[in-house]
């Protein structure tokens, strides 16, 4: 689960990470008031969306007067922002973060991630902060430091000093870096985060360390432990079809093809998409119904897949272990009867209660295209689209 920059900074601040003075505004008027309250002579107006590269898209503006703050806020709020990480349509901006502008002398990168190779929380740090850290990792991997954290002892001071020294945070900056890294780690551990990133971590006014930009994402399987993090969720940032699917216990990701897919298990769902592609078709979505799918869940899956106007045929591929083919078949029949489905429906059932499921389909008298195996199913689905 992703959260906004202003939320991340609020959270990090509560753990002791130094962040710029600022507050979020949802209108031109409130942006002006906040800038006045912050005071100073220079402010930064930052669009709040769940995507990076905002500066490149014009979503981060400097202002030298309250009027200018209001002008930028008015321009950004209510408009769509296109960045290298958004779709071509961009994302609608509903809020801006107003902060005092910083006098930055040096920029660093500091991140925390669950490293699946080390199987541990790992710190990533670099003296090359700013926008192009991914490029640095490719071209100068030696400039990107990695340190795995042993969960039995946490992140000790010496390890923070080691990282700080290697990226050049020395002298009076070192104790600040140690404190900041430990605070970031505590926040990451105590809130079950999956990713935290401070970029840039900046030296301001010559000798102060400050998290000038920050992002975090959290483990969807653990957020129920932290109501304050759950409250940060912004449904406007998510695909409404995906939100609805999650509500029905379905894992759905919209794609751009024409064959709607309903499958059990992520691996088989991907393999089904691969088989469709190999036969010259294009999957319209990834959809995993999970285990123990009830007839209602299957019917919901049909409804969600059919909301995509590009869908020309629907392929249902179920290899039941913990699932039951009879329940799945009942769901398909319900969907076909209640939703007036006109697209060709290709059904491949296998595994637990296969015979019962096949019998329910046959008895219904509905016009299914049945497939014997994965290859047959993929070919028939692609043919169905081509023959329309």
């Amino acid at each position: 689960m992703n959260i906004h920059e202003y939320q991340t900074k609020e959270l990090l601040k509560s753990f002791g990470v130094p962040v710029p003075q600022g507050r979020v505004a949802d209108s031109e008027a409130s942006a002006g008031i906040i800038a006045e309250q912050i005071g100073g002579e220079r402010w930064v107006v930052k669009a709040q969306i769940h995507a990076g590269g905002r500066g490149k898209g014009g979503g981060v503006q400097l202002a030298d007067s309250i009027d200018e703050v209001r002008k930028h806020a008015d321009h950004i709020i209510g408009n769509r922002l296109i960045t290298p990480q958004t779709s071509a349509a961009g994302k609608l901006v509903q809020r801006v973060l107003i902060e005092s502008a910083q006098n930055i002398t040096r920029e660093f990168y500091l991140g925390l991630i669950i490293d699946r190779v080390a199987q541990r929380i790992t710190i990533i740090a670099s003296a090359s902060g700013g926008m192009d850290i991914e490029e640095v990792a490719k071209t100068n991997p030696e400039k990107v430091i990695r340190e795995a954290v042993d969960p039995s002892i946490g992140l000790p001071e010496f390890q923070c000093r080691k990282i700080a020294a290697r990226i050049g945070l020395t002298g009076s900056l070192m104790p600040q870096a140690v404190k900041l890294m430990q605070a970031l780690y505590r926040c990451f551990r105590d809130k079950d985060a999956l990713m935290a990133e401070i970029n840039p971590l900046a030296v301001v006014d010559g000798d102060k360390l400050l998290a000038v930009d920050a992002k975090m994402s959290f483990d969807g399987n653990a957020v129920h432990r932290y109501p304050e993090i759950t409250n940060y969720r912004d449904f406007d940032e998510e695909d409404p079809k995906e939100v609805e699917a999650t509500g029905h216990g379905l894992n759905y990701i919209a794609l751009e093809g024409s064959v709607g897919c309903i499958v059990n298990g992520a691996g088989l769902a991907m393999a089904t998409m691969d088989a469709i592609t190999l036969h010259g078709g294009n999957p319209a979505n990834f959809l995993d119904v999970g285990g123990g799918a009830s007839p209602k869940k299957i019917a919901n899956a049909f409804r969600i897949v059919r909301k995509d106007p590009n869908v020309k045929a629907i392929l249902l591929n179920i290899f039941a272990g913990i699932n039951r083919c009879d329940w799945v078949a009942e769901g398909v029949v319900q969907a076909m009867q209640k939703q007036a489905i006109s697209e060709p429906v290709i059904v491949r059932l296998s595994g637990t209660n296969y015979e019962l499921g096949q019998e329910i389909l046959n008895r219904s008298g509905l016009p299914f295209i049945t497939a014997t195996d994965l290859d047959d199913a993929a070919r028939k689905a692609v043919d169905a689209v081509h023959n329309l």
Binding site: G52, I121, D150, P151, V263, G267, L268, G351
Partner: protein
């Protein structure tokens, strides 16, 4: 023969009296699995499915001699259940739960380093040695005893591959699900090592997915240490590049993460890579026949030798 579990395994189910555990325990018993009891805290002393229920795993080990555990508790309690099994001295732990918080697993993995135990999962369909022992949720009917080892991340894709093999007469020595989560117990190399040492496994089917470098690490290990052929498939060639926030993920995972890149690397390391998921069974058949021919003609089969189609 087999790896990890067999007819002598003494299996305990954690979360034994729950609805799912009950259903799958009954299936496992029908398949010949020696389930010696179950654990449900608070219900110790009662009897379920004609077997004793214990309050703790430690009691199940001490009183029923359990050495394998199937963990069927809900994901929010699963990490604690794994720690309990490890501490009680269980050697083989199969974790079915899907949705365990990732950092819970980071701590579990650290703890298990100091103990002699192997974990399969979380988010696995389980481990099965056909007609001897089943600890998991897979449909037993598609498996048959045989000489091909199977290891996969995905459960249902494992069923798909196994059904294709079984239809062509190739049974399984053992089929192992290592689970689909980013932090899991045993990895592909751990399982390949076991299959390599098993005299009754002739070949291995390895089924991976996009993300992480485990499959390529396994192929590298096999090139150095293994003479048995490996048939490999990676799901996700058509999957979109992961949507992400920030850059840290891309930095740590690098570019060798796509299904295409992984399959190319594995092919270069001598794995018989299958590009079409519908052709896993056929490829197993072809590779085994090729192996039989080269053995008959007196040539030593070479790992990764190109197979003519």
């Amino acid at each position: 023969m087999s790896v990890f579990i067999n007819k002598n395994s003494r299996v305990v189910y954690q979360g034994f009296t729950g609805q799912h555990a009950t259903f799958h325990a009954e299936e496992a018993i029908k398949h010949g699995t020696n389930i010696v009891g179950g654990v449900t805290p608070g219900k110790g002393g009662s009897v379920h499915l004609d077997r004793p229920v214990f309050d703790t795993v430690s009691d199940a080990v001490g009183q029923a001699g359990a050495d394998v555990s199937g963990i069927f508790v809900p994901p929010q309690f699963a990490a604690d259940a794994i720690l309990e099994a490890v501490e009680a001295g269980i050697k083989t732990i199969v974790v079915i739960a899907d949705g365990i918080p990732v950092q819970d697993m980071v701590r579990v993995k650290r703890y298990v380093l100091d103990h002699d135990a192997i974990i399969f999962g979380p988010n696995t369909a389980g481990v099965i040695t056909p007609e001897e022992c089943k600890v998991g949720i897979m449909p037993a009917s598609i498996y048959q005893p045989g000489r091909v080892g199977v290891v996969s991340r995905s459960g249902t894709l494992n069923y798909e591959a196994v059904a294709q093999m079984t239809a062509l007469g190739h049974g399984q020595s053992t089929s192992v699900g290592i689970g689909g989560d980013p932090i899991n117990g045993a990895n592909f190399v751990d399982v390949l090592k076991a299959f390599n040492e098993d005299p009754d496994t002739d070949a291995v089917v390895l089924i991976g997915e996009i993300g992480g470098g485990q499959e390529v690490d396994a192929a590298e290990w096999a090139k150095k240490h293994m003479d048995k052929p490996i048939i490999g498939f990676i799901a996700g060639v058509s999957a979109p590049a992961g949507r992400r926030m920030g850059h840290a993920g891309a930095i740590i995972s690098g570019e060798a993460d796509t299904a295409e890149a992984k399959m190319n690397l594995m092919e270069n390391l001598g794995v018989h890579v299958v590009r079409n998921p519908a052709e896993i069974g056929e490829t197993v058949d072809r590779v085994l026949k090729q192996k039989a021919t080269t053995v008959e003609s007196g040539r030593e089969p070479v790992h990764g030798e190109a197979v003519e189609s």
